[in-house]
């Protein structure tokens, strides 16, 4: 491949984006941490709900299942997106039936190989806003795995379920799944309604409810989810300096304001559900291309480009402001998810006109 070519995927990104492989990598990384560093450090990886790959881990799953009867579990196909093939269950009987019978569609039966599923502990106490469940879509751009260099976008959104949350209606998949794709087919979906909040709106709401410090801690923990998940696949992903990848992370908050990783998407949806949504995705793509920097305008030492903040650069990245303003030796992380995104001004200051361009 030529020097200047850039590809927007890593060859084996599925190590992170396929649910069964992600879980495997995370579990392995966690074990390594526990062995090499200790329990406390390993506990920082406890942001994914108990997950088992089926059919391979069926028996371990059953053991875990029996330990906590009455809990709800969610079954997800490994390689599908947009909420297809997902369902909830509480009794083993429900999946035994499913395993045996033709509740699978024709499409599935035609597939040569047995489709892999993961069974995951369902989070029964999600954080609700006005009785509605929501999840977060956050964008993380990785430009290199070895060394790991990752950027976090300030914008993002919270996707609300159109209906009110209650555990009694397991069959109503519209309640539990917050993917816009699924919501769009729900009977009371009103496209005018826009079931999304910008990340700024959400952060502001949470701050008004819980106070600045609590929300600050929450967002730090969310950063942790990204970093740990990327570190867990650092050694498995085939690094290539031509590659970069924009991930769409799905995060769920529970009532104790703990973030949970639901999944990572390597091809996050870029279709827009509204003008606001279009603007967000447009800016996101524009800034992604700025970082990829095919024009060679950047020095490589930048900590912020447009709406992206450098989150990890072979080590944690701290803001420059943090050190002076606080006066103590407290280091402030360089991420600003849900904060003001004055990217245009920043870009103007950052990008010098490239060679050949006349100065206006």
């Amino acid at each position: 491949m030529e020097e200047h070519v850039r590809i927007c995927h890593f060859r084996n990104h599925y190590e992170l984006t396929r649910k069964n492989l992600m879980v495997k990598n995370l579990k392995r990384y966690r074990k390594t941490l526990e062995r090499e560093v200790g329990r406390l450090e390993a506990a920082k990886c406890d942001f994914f709900p108990r997950t088992f790959e089926l059919p391979s881990e069926y028996h371990i799953f059953v053991e875990e299942f029996k330990k906590s009867p009455g809990n709800t579990w969610i079954m997800k196909p490994v390689a599908r997106s947009q909420g297809k093939g997902i369902f909830l269950f509480r009794k083993l009987k429900d999946i035994i039936d499913w395993r045996k019978d033709g509740s699978r569609s024709e499409e599935q039966k035609d597939e040569a190989q047995v489709e892999s599923y993961v069974a995951q502990r369902y989070i029964e106490n999600p954080y609700l806003i006005a009785g509605r469940k929501f999840d977060l879509r956050v964008y993380v751009l990785v430009t290199s795995y070895i060394p790991l260099k990752a950027w976090l976008y300030r914008d993002g959104f919270a996707r609300f379920s159109n209906t009110r949350f209650s555990l009694s209606s397991i069959d109503d998949q519209y309640v539990h799944l917050t993917n816009v794709a699924v919501q769009k087919t729900a009977p009371d979906y009103d496209p005018e309604k826009g079931c999304k909040w910008q990340m700024q709106q959400l952060r502001w709401y949470l701050t008004a409810k819980h106070g600045f410090e609590t929300v600050q801690t929450l967002f730090k923990e969310i950063d942790n989810v990204f970093i740990r998940s990327l570190l867990s696949v650092q050694k498995t992903i085939i690094n290539d300096k031509h590659c970069f990848e924009l991930y769409g992370y799905d995060i769920l908050l529970d009532q104790d304001l703990k973030p949970w990783l639901i999944e990572v998407n390597a091809s996050p949806s870029l279709t827009a559900s509204s003008q606001e949504d279009y603007d967000l995705k447009y800016r996101l793509l524009e800034d992604t291309l700025h970082i990829v920097d095919m024009e060679g305008r950047l020095t490589g030492k930048e900590k912020r480009i447009g709406g992206f903040d450098l989150m990890w650069n072979d080590g944690p990245v701290y803001t420059d402001v943090g050190l002076e303003a606080l006066g103590s030796s407290c280091l402030v992380a360089n991420t600003h998810l849900g904060c003001v995104n004055d990217r245009e001004k920043q870009l103007q200051q950052l990008l010098k006109p490239f060679p050949g361009q006349k100065k206006t």
């Binding site: 209906t163 826009g194 008004a208 819980h210």
Partner: protein, 526 residues
């Protein structure tokens, strides 16, 4: 004319009268009795000792807050011979105009009721009551057929009434003369100009820090923000209502706003308040009112379609349905130029018609009413707490936005002030817009009636409402309306029709409220 000391004693008597028999009164008595057991209380100095203990335990502060609240709500004592109408509205022609407007609204409501054949109120059958109880937290999922209901009135209907207001004492000439007003409002009221406002709103000046300006990302927090937040925390821990109000003038930090507003409004969430709310809820369950449908329709048309507020749909029903049935709201009609509408309802025996206040709280909702509640959902999520705050805000401020009066915070004054400010400081713009048939008030009216709710982004709106609470006046709303026009003046000078003027001012969601206000008040040359 009463002299100051008589006025003061009258006020004191009034306040004591109002506080007697309240929950706070019984709590204070209880506390006083309990502290008799304390060893430091001596019989000889009983009064002083008890006072000291109550002060130390924070009860004096609570009483102070309650008195402070009464001072806000109580109208100034008038002449002993003046009839009660004077407290509602001293100008007779305004009172009359309000009365005839009310008659119109009520007629419209009654005719809708007759047309649709729906009773104004009916008792719900048991099945329906049960269903509603189950669905209480998700009333938004209900999709009743509301196509036959129309809002009783919309802001623009109200504007027409205001435009038609005339003071019978002035020269009655419908021709446009040099003496008549350029704008739509044709009555003269005393409104403030910029030099006067610079004094009143001193804390918004350029030498003071503000939230909404000095908490911007590129301003180091040391300059203002950190200290301000620190002070805010102290104010909350001291539980001082007056201090909170003063503090709010420079903006409330997001994390403290809910507590600060609660303190300023002196709303509590005691068991007593929760019980009151539950009683209202029970009334909703037992009876269906015609206005309920109007509320549903309003929420569905406005808040549910708003990007920020759609989430809170259920809360809005929980608050507004209860609000309609709260007879405690009737008290505010003592100082409101409006009077509660009375409808004739068949008495139980069916033989006679008697006049009852309808709806029970005397407030007929209009199109957009739910937007008074929606922004508060960002701050409070316990229904009873949300309810208390909304009710207090309504009886202190919001009611003035849809009743005809001469009060400085009343809608007439606000509209006049807006027009006057615009004429004085942007005369070319005003003239231009008038010439193309785009009277500025026609565009700004909807913002003013809703105190900008639904037009600004929520964080900006709450910064504005911080100042409404801080200065205990809605005047700032009129000033902001003018400042918005000033900001978009260049574009507005280019337009040639009302429609294009509306288009220039259609989207206010990106505006930053505090810089606009500050520039207009303190950087406009006079």
């Amino acid at each position: 004319m009463m002299d100051e000391s008589t006025e003061l004693s009258v006020s004191i008597t009034q306040i004591v009268q109002r506080l007697k028999g309240t929950h706070l009164h019984s709590q204070l008595e209880k506390q006083a009795k309990e502290c008799l057991h304390k060893p430091e209380i001596k019989l000889e100095t009983l009064k002083d000792d008890v006072r000291r203990v109550l002060k130390a335990s924070g009860w004096e502060r609570k009483l102070q807050n309650a008195v402070y609240r009464e001072l806000h709500v109580l109208p100034p004592p008038g002449h002993p011979r003046a009839p009660p109408e004077h407290t509602k509205e001293p100008l007779a022609y305004m009172l009359k105009a309000q009365a005839s407007w009310e008659k119109r609204i009520l007629k419209s409501l009654n005719s809708m009721c007759t047309e649709l054949g729906i009773p104004l109120a009916r008792k719900r059958p048991v099945m329906e009551q049960k269903e509603l109880t189950n669905k209480w937290n998700e009333m938004g999922t209900d999709e009743p057929d509301l196509s036959n209901f129309r809002p009783v009135y919309a802001p623009k209907d109200f504007l027409e009434v205001l435009i038609g207001l005339r003071n019978p004492n002035t020269e009655r000439s419908d021709d446009l003369t040099v003496k008549s007003h350029w704008g739509l409002i044709q009555v003269s009221l005393n409104v403030h100009d910029i030099p006067q406002m610079r004094e009143t709103y001193a804390e918004l000046g350029l030498s003071y820090g503000q939230l909404g300006i000095d908490d911007h990302t590129h301003v180091p927090p040391d300059l203002f923000e950190s200290e301000h937040i620190h002070i805010g925390k102290k104010v909350v821990s001291e539980q001082d209502s007056a201090a909170a109000q003063q503090y709010s003038r420079q903006g409330c930090p997001t994390g403290l706003r809910a507590q600060l507003w609660s303190l300023i409004l002196n709303t509590t969430n005691d068991p007593e308040d929760i019980t009151h709310y539950e009683q209202l809820k029970a009334r909703v369950i037992h009876h269906n009112l015609l206005v309920d449908n109007l509320i549903y329709k309003d929420v569905k048309l406005t808040a549910s379609n708003d990007d920020y507020y759609f989430v809170f749909e259920d809360y809005l029903y929980q608050v507004l349905l209860c609000f309609s049935r709260d007879t405690a709201v009737l008290e505010h009609f003592n100082y409101n130029s409006a009077s509660p509408p009375k409808s004739s309802i068949q008495s139980k025996s069916g033989s006679e018609q008697c006049a009852v206040v309808y709806p029970p709280n005397g407030v007929i909702p209009f199109h957009g009413f739910s937007m008074y509640v929606a922004p508060l959902c960002f701050l409070y999520n316990e229904p009873s707490k949300l309810y208390s705050v909304f009710r207090e805000m309504y009886i202190r401020y919001f009611f003035r936005l849809h009743s005809i009066s001469s009060h400085p915070s009343g809608i007439v004054s606000l509209c006049l002030q807006f027009e006057r400010l615009l004429q004085a400081h942007l005369p070319q713009l005003f003239y231009h817009l008038r010439e193309i048939g785009a009277q500025p008030l026609r565009i700004a009216f909807k913002w003013i009636v809703r105190a900008f709710s639904g037009y600004l982004s929520t964080d900006q709106l709450l910064l504005l409402w911080d100042r409404i609470l801080g200065y205990n006046s809605l005047e700032i709303v009129a000033v902001l309306a003018t400042a918005v026009f000033a900001f978009r003046a260049e574009n507005l000078m280019e337009v040639t029709s009302l429609a294009s003027a509306e288009a220039v001012l259609a989207d206010l969601s990106t505006l930053k409220v505090m810089p606009l206000l500050q520039i207009f008040l303190f950087a406009t040359s006079i």
